[in-house]
């Protein structure tokens, strides 16, 4: 009778350096991976139900509360979806201000993730704090970059966390020219610092781990997509936001309070985030970011999720360069907010959060109240892909001791900069061997 290999179980009870609370459970029989579960045990936050019956004007401020790191993504997605429902078109000036606001969020989120959350994985430190002892200049650079992103959010959004200036139709108040002009010197420093950051990250030692990902991101004909564009996949499928729910479906899974999104009809996982965006819109990066992409030694499109940190760096450069252009040429939008009238309807929108594609749909009554809401954050969309990655990555690291295996898996999860709070929903890791 053949001997049955022993079961081994690896648990990460609490994954650190991610936003929110979750865990990772892996069960092995011998060297065969039997089960991988990204378990999210943060309670459901039920924002979609909470929005029903509320005035549509409340939606940007309520949805911003879903996340303290990427509130702008929720605000931008909600106002675009609601404007689609109301038939509102905003002016080019408002459109540029919205891109500027998104630049601020990309800067603060990417700078934090690259320097304090992800770089320690590549440099062999358990935390940003431990890394700061040996890399004080780099950590200080990251903190200063993040600070300038926050300053932009404060000027444009009223405050850095959960901005309050975003409205359906535009902004409650357009900043004065001098308020934005005052940011220019720091953003000139930031552009060079972002280039230095990206070169630094490109020099890290990356595991050889390539997968045939189905990358998905917004693609816009004329610009690096943030707020508008077709939801485009690396296999060529390109759809409008209105068609999103016909092609992508959220499913309940028993081990997680977060929904898992899959592509239909194949039920396959897909990849959203900076790496997908750079792969699909490389030629639309800002000039400095585009030149840097050629310099960093990566053949684009890139299929190694560990090199996502370089894509994140390219977007940091892009965000500073585009923000500088807008800051230098800014003329206050008049009016800052386009007037509208209530009408019954449904509107959808997809925008690009720092962590990837985010989709919102709202049904509005003729009294301006929300009758139905659907919100699909990036981490829900990446969860299936993270589990799929782990199934293929684990055999490469199982010869290590259990702590090292767990660390390698946590590193892979952080490639996605998951925001568990956003997906409703700390990461525990368990590895079970039988």
């Amino acid at each position: 009778m053949p001997e049955i290999p022993p079961t081994r179980m690896i648990r990460i009870e609490a994954l650190t350096r991610v936003e929110g609370e979750g865990g990772l459970h892996v069960r092995l029989r011998g060297d065969q991976v039997e089960e991988v579960q990204l378990t999210i045990f943060e309670p459901p936050r039920l924002f979609e139900a909470l929005l029903r019956g509320r005035s549509l004007e409340d939606v940007p401020d309520i949805t911003a509360r879903i996340c303290g790191i990427c509130p702008v993504a929720y605000q931008m997605s909600s106002v675009h979806a609601l404007e689609a429902a109301l038939g509102v078109s905003v002016s080019p000036e408002i459109r540029r201000l919205r891109r500027l606001l998104y630049c601020g969020e990309w800067i603060e989120s990417h700078a934090l993730h690259m320097h304090l959350l992800h770089a320690p994985d590549f440099l062999g430190y358990e935390s940003g704090l431990a890394m700061a002892r040996d890399f004080p200049d780099e950590v200080n650079r990251g903190l200063r970059l993040k600070k300038h992103g926050n300053q932009l959010l404060e000027v444009l959004g009223g405050r850095a966390i959960h901005p309050v200036n975003v409205a359906v139709g535009g902004f409650y108040r357009a900043p004065r020219r001098e308020e934005l002009a005052a940011l220019i010197p720091d953003f000139e420093w930031g552009l060079q610092a972002a280039i230095d950051t990206t070169r630094w990250a490109a020099g890290f030692d990356f595991p050889q781990f390539e997968r045939p990902y189905r990358m998905v991101a917004l693609v816009h004909r004329d610009e690096y997509a943030m707020n508008e564009g077709l939801i485009t996949a690396s296999d060529g499928e390109a759809i409008t936001a209105a068609d999103y729910e016909r092609h992508y479906e959220e499913r309940h899974v028993s081990h997680s309070t977060a929904l898992h999104s899959v592509h239909q009809p194949d039920g396959g996982a897909y990849f959203v985030g900076p790496l997908a965006r750079v792969n699909l819109s490389l030629e639309r990066l800002s000039p400095a970011a585009r030149r840097l992409a050629d310099e960093v030694g990566i053949a684009w499109p890139c299929a190694n999720s560990f090199q996502g940190i370089v894509a994140r760096g390219l977007e940091l450069v892009h965000a500073f360069e585009e923000a500088l252009d807008i800051l230098r040429n800014y003329r206050p939008a008049k009016p800052p907010r386009i007037a509208y009238e209530y009408r019954a309807g449904t509107g959808c929108a997809a925008t690009e959060a720092p962590r990837g594609l985010i989709y919102h749909r709202y049904c509005v009554g003729d009294d301006g109240r929300i009758t139905e809401a659907k919100i699909v954050p990036p981490t829900s969309q990446n969860q299936g892909q993270i589990e799929d990655d782990l199934r293929h990555f684990l055999p490469l690291v199982l010869d290590r001791d259990e702590n090292q295996t767990a660390l390698a898996c946590a590193h892979l999860v952080r490639n996605y900069d998951p925001c568990i709070s956003c997906s409703t929903h700390f990461l525990r890791f368990t590895l079970e061997r039988t």
Binding site: T16, L116, S127, R133, I161
Partner: protein
């Protein structure tokens, strides 16, 4: 008569002529949220903004301890006011000088692990902390979503304000309970 053991031992019995405003560049930060006793830091800084309006002391509120990292440049003194837990009965007032081991016990974690202790440790590691850092903390009873502050913590707001105002106006160090 102030019967608070901390304040009673700190408030100097001096005439107004002895008063000399702290000339050091000082920042006071109230950390908190709108939930239950976690509002303490915000309520204290609201009061301090009025009490110290004519001084050069900067007073700010924050929801995330990580915000502190943006505000440290050029500071000579930092006072952080926050609610804490697992350090005594509700309403107990603590005054800790950094580095404070109690602080790590008081708050386990926060978004992206940048809680107050982690933030101050990171700033310390980077050599960015001012020479004097004091944490004034009050033991909370609850921080339920949307709840009012508990009576035990409400009464502590004025005690904390008095302690900090006295310290700033008379340039006294906020000495921790253990000295």
């Amino acid at each position: 008569m102030n019967d608070d053991p901390v304040i009673a031992s700190r408030v100097p019995r001096r005439s107004q002529s002895c008063r000399r405003t702290d000339s050091r560049r000082t920042l006071i930060v109230g950390l908190g949220s709108p939930h239950g006793d976690d509002q303490l830091g915000w309520r204290v800084t609201e009061r301090l903004a009025l009490e110290l309006a004519s001084s050069d002391v900067d007073v700010r509120t924050a929801r995330s301890a990580g915000d502190l990292l943006d505000w440290l440049d050029g500071l000579e003194r930092l006072i952080v006011c926050d609610a804490c837990e697992n350090q005594g009965s509700p309403g107990t007032l603590h005054c800790w000088n950094w580095p404070a081991a109690e602080l790590c016990l008081a708050r386990a974690s926060s978004s992206h692990d940048l809680g107050l202790a982690s933030t101050l440790a990171l700033a310390d590691e980077l050599g960015r902390l001012p020479g004097e850092v004091t944490i004034v903390a009050v033991e909370e009873k609850q921080h339920l979503t949307g709840a009012e502050m508990s009576a035990e913590v409400v009464v502590s707001v004025e005690r904390v304000v008095g302690l900090i105002v006295t310290s700033c106006l008379y340039d006294d160090a906020l000495v921790g309970e253990r000295g």
